[in-house]
Symmetry: C2
Amino acid sequence: MKVKLGVRNCLYPMPTVLVGALVNGKPNYVTIAHVGIMEPQAVSLGMNKEHFSNVGIKENKTFSVNIPSTRMVAETDYCGLTTGRNEDKAKLFTTFYGPLKTAPMIEECAINMECELVKTVDFPRHDVFMGRIVESYCEENVLTEGVVDVGKVQPILFVYNDRSYWKIGERIGQAWNIGKKLAK
Amino acid sequence: MKVKLGVRNCLYPMPTVLVGALVNGKPNYVTIAHVGIMEPQAVSLGMNKEHFSNVGIKENKTFSVNIPSTRMVAETDYCGLTTGRNEDKAKLFTTFYGPLKTAPMIEECAINMECELVKTVDFPRHDVFMGRIVESYCEENVLTEGVVDVGKVQPILFVYNDRSYWKIGERIGQAWNIGKKLAK
């Protein structure tokens, strides 16, 4: 039986990322799971306007998206509990930079995407930053035959419903293929 | 060792959804995994402009987001292989409507979100539709103590890297909590 939940976002799980930004000349990292994909090479971040990082993203027009693994769940959660206003969160990680120079990235994350801000959409309490990926980096050991293998990345999946983190499970099939059997 | 991947979107897995739209007065469903969360009550769909559903979303300014379970993976994939221009995909499902009247929803999906279009962002080959949730529905049997339990929903996770679908795995901890141990 269907029940009504009211206005309740149930679009979960989402991948938990550490967003990197340069704020007042220093790298800062904040945990965000309200992310999105706009088109294949553009990603979005739905970031509460109170975040310290928003200032740096607006100033530099760059940011990074770093994907931590489940091994880093405590550090990842911690970066969502504290603000860069009071604490140097970058000291938890090794920072590196790519050609954009102002998008700090986390060496310890298996995946890093260096992004250029292309659009900002203003929501009442959130800045939605949309970035075009200019370069992606990964740890060689998460590749399988040259392709990023999420089973090796072991991303942290976020569910707001009960404020929890989850692992990815098993691979169940091939997209644009498994439904072919339904064609007449 | 880090390797460069070029411009490669690695923001996966993302939840696979069936987007419902009324096109020329008939319900249509299309599979989309390039979704996003803008703010807690607003979701986005990154939809290639060639999709038949885009016409209906623009006309009615409504759409639905339906979350299929892994049991429905063949039907879900099928809705991404075929176009509503040539085929009545709604016949695969039981359709219901809520107060918006023009956002068809799928009875067989454990979760449905009825949305009102609030913004459209124009990307070169994609319409990014942003919707405000006006009502959410769920199957009673996916609730645990009144909260949507993704372990019971069993969403289909999509990974573009190797064009695959995945299950959700185990719950690993509590958000805004598991990192507290790192506080000094």
